[in-house]
Amino acid sequence: MLELKLYQLDYPLLSLMIFIPVLGSFLLLFIRNAANVRWIALAFSVVELGLCLPLLMNFDNSTPHMQFGESLSWIPAWNINYTLGVDGISVLFVALTTLLTTISIMVSWTAIQDRVREFMIALLFLEAGMIGVFVSLDLFLFYIFWEAMLIPMYLLIGVWGGPNRLYAAVKFFLYTLVGSVLMLVGIIAVYFAAGNTFDVLAIMNHKFSHTFQMWVFAAFFVAFAVKVPMFPFHTWLPDAHVEAPTAGSILLAGILIKMGAYGFLRFSLPFFPDATIAWTPAIMTLSVIAIIYGAYMAFAQTDFKKLIAYSSVSHMGFVTLGIFALNLQGLEGGILQMLNHGISTGALFLAVGVIYERTHTRLIADYGGIAAKAPVYAAFLLIITLSSIGLPGTNGFVGEFMILLGAFLYSKPYAVIASLGIILGAGYMLWLYQRIAFGTITNPHNERLTDMNSREVAAAFPLVALVFILGLYPNAALRVMHASVANLVQQVNAKVQTAPAVAQTLSTLTGN
């Protein structure tokens, strides 16, 4: 049984992390000068990033319990509490959120010229919402952050996006909202079934009936599957990515779509273990379809951003494949892959942003031969491409390897088909790199192309560093999550009521 370790530090670290960006956005309301707005927004995001230091330094890897807990009564009539806490899974995403938000502000420095203040306010609000989603341990509070995030993201896409932004913004909003509201009914049902509580840790200990689990799992599943996005709920993603400004794409790919997978880990698996096992074959199949379909679609794209969007569908297929393999290897691989994808896809969108700001085109055919003009950029893109492919030595390799291992233990055909996805991934990414960086310059505009400037290098550097750190020493992330993931596997295992055969398999696997 998980506990919430309350007030370990003498200051409310997690609340600070939620409210510092909010404070920043309020402050920005009174700043008129665009240059000042940028610096203040950056300062707040850096402070936020700095708060990761006490978070990670004081984090205890050895325990699966929720740490840095805070709990206040919020709406006593409904037994709703403001409960926060992080474990080995969420702490990683809190850190990634602060990093990617800082990078997003840096890449928007010159790209955003229109309504800078509103842009930065939206970004900081979004950051508060994202942190809130990862640290909430009350279902109601979680839902508040989960939905509140839609507002700034809708505005980021709709106001600062590309030509077809209106369509993309509405599609993004409606898809996510429809999924979420069904989860809301599910949350209410859980509240009554678990004895009038929204407390996540208490609900984890409650055993729901099998029928109840099947229905409510489905309600939660829709919300998370749209967010991931899993095939066939993915169609909003390419539109949203293509139209979003660079910062929006980075956060969308880096953090927002991870929340779906995080939802599976935090809620679906521990709350509804029976339903999870019953649904697993279907979800594994959808994951494999997503891997192949996303890769296949990526081959056909002529738009740089759209190609990455489809590659995200494929990569997130790996994540769900790993999670629903329901063994230690798969789960840890899935979580690692979530981090890796956040890093490498964030970096890829950064790369798109850099070149788009110079050429104002995203069509792959308009590039070509730019390695000669922008060698630093070409090197950066190469590293990220290789990381996205999963070359050994880069971060992508470890995650995918562990996922395949987990999937193999679950069922061999899934692992075999999924590994085809890796080959396809290598194909479309290398082909993409070849078309962009090599060959001769066909587009005369690219003759005057300038290389990455120091601000862009500074934004890209942490991501490149992480590619190698996690590639060469994955334990840096694995040891943080290990206790929590092991506990999760055990939790699912212990609560399974109706499928003894599967439970047995699980225990033999985790015993390994």
Partner: protein, 484 residues
Amino acid sequence: MFSMYQQFLQTILPILPEVIMITVALTVLIFDFFLEKDRKNVLGWYSLAGVIIAAYASYNLMSMSGTFFEGTFLLDPFSVFFKFVFYVACGLGILVSINYLKHEDIHRGEYYALMLFATTGMMMMASAGDLITLYLGLELMALSSYVLAGFMRSDNRSNEAAIKYLVLGAFSSGIMLYGMSLLYGLSGTTKLSGILAFLRGADLANPVIFLALIMLIVSFGFKVAAAPFHQWAPDVYEGAPTPVAAFMSAGPKVAGFAVLLRIFLYALEPLREHSSALLAGLAFLTMAVGNIMALSQTNIKRMLAYSSIAHAGYALVGLAAGGSEGAASVMLYVGIYALMNMGAFGVVIMLRKAGERGEEIADFAGLGKTNKTVAFLMLIFMFSLTGIPPLAGFVGKFYIFKSAVEAGLVWLAVAGVLFSAISAYFYLRVIMVMYMHEPKAEFKLLQSPSLALALAISVTAVIVIGVYPTALLNFARASITGIL
């Protein structure tokens, strides 16, 4: 002599707020004669002061509760809660009207008097312990609203709105009276408590009882604009002066729900089984019609009219759920709804183009660039109406759906959340037009301190209730004692 005077005071004390409202309304009519045309806004502030004093009186009467005037007038926490909602609706209604009336050159004292009369009618409805009092309150409210809807005499649409509202309103009042007379014929009393006592001992299979139930549902369906009895609402909202539409969507509608709660959860409580099923069906249909019809509207007032139909549908979900939680959820919901809807209408009132009223959604184009504050307020109201946290609209909807799930109406809760997801489309369109379209020429806002004050109050309430609903929630939950 002195003791008689004291006795008189004692007698009218329970209705002191109503007496204050009526007195202010009558004096407004008198003062109107002595005021120059361009100084009529004094009457607005005077009426507002009256509303605040009445609210203060109600506040002081909160400790007093009981039945008065032979059981025809109930002073209970339930009625007090609704009276506060009416004060807010009336107060905000006055604030948004002051400059608008001047601008449209219809600034006459009767306007404020009618508004106060209508509010008094609503207060009587909430306090009615008897079908006759209830009907009197309802007609006082309705007759005042008919005149208010047609207040812009030179405008054909306003006249049309008034006539349409009058004819359909009278029609529904007739049906209501028919239903009430059936109940009286059966039970021999017009007292709600008497009807409850009669029904507890009656043979509920009696088709006449069922007929009375249907008639009451139909007539109140008209009053709160529930589908399929909603057709009047869009035309009336569109034609009526915008502040009147704002007031009507908040005040009379909420009053309708006060009566619905009192009748269906208290007086006709033994018929719960039938009424719940009928109300659930009505709720589903109302949400469907309101949300789906709103999708295709290009006129912001018509859009808000259909949106208010949809919101009546959500409130009906709570009514169908019934019980103490259902009742409290409806009360919380209508209170929040009144605030956010007044806010949204307040922004519409501001909208002018080339001296004319701007009523098309397209008229909002580029507001996010030309007037950031007003656009941001509208953004807050639209997201709150959609029900996106952390705004008040979400809290209201959450409570409604929570009580529906608790009452076993899961299908209705699922339908409700899906319809509210659909509603995001038309609310978002307003935001999209404001922020994502380029401004058009000839765009001017009608700005005034009173309007700014009204918007500031509603936006603050929408955000504060959204983030910290406990105070209002506890007030609503403590106020249901009167009907259960």
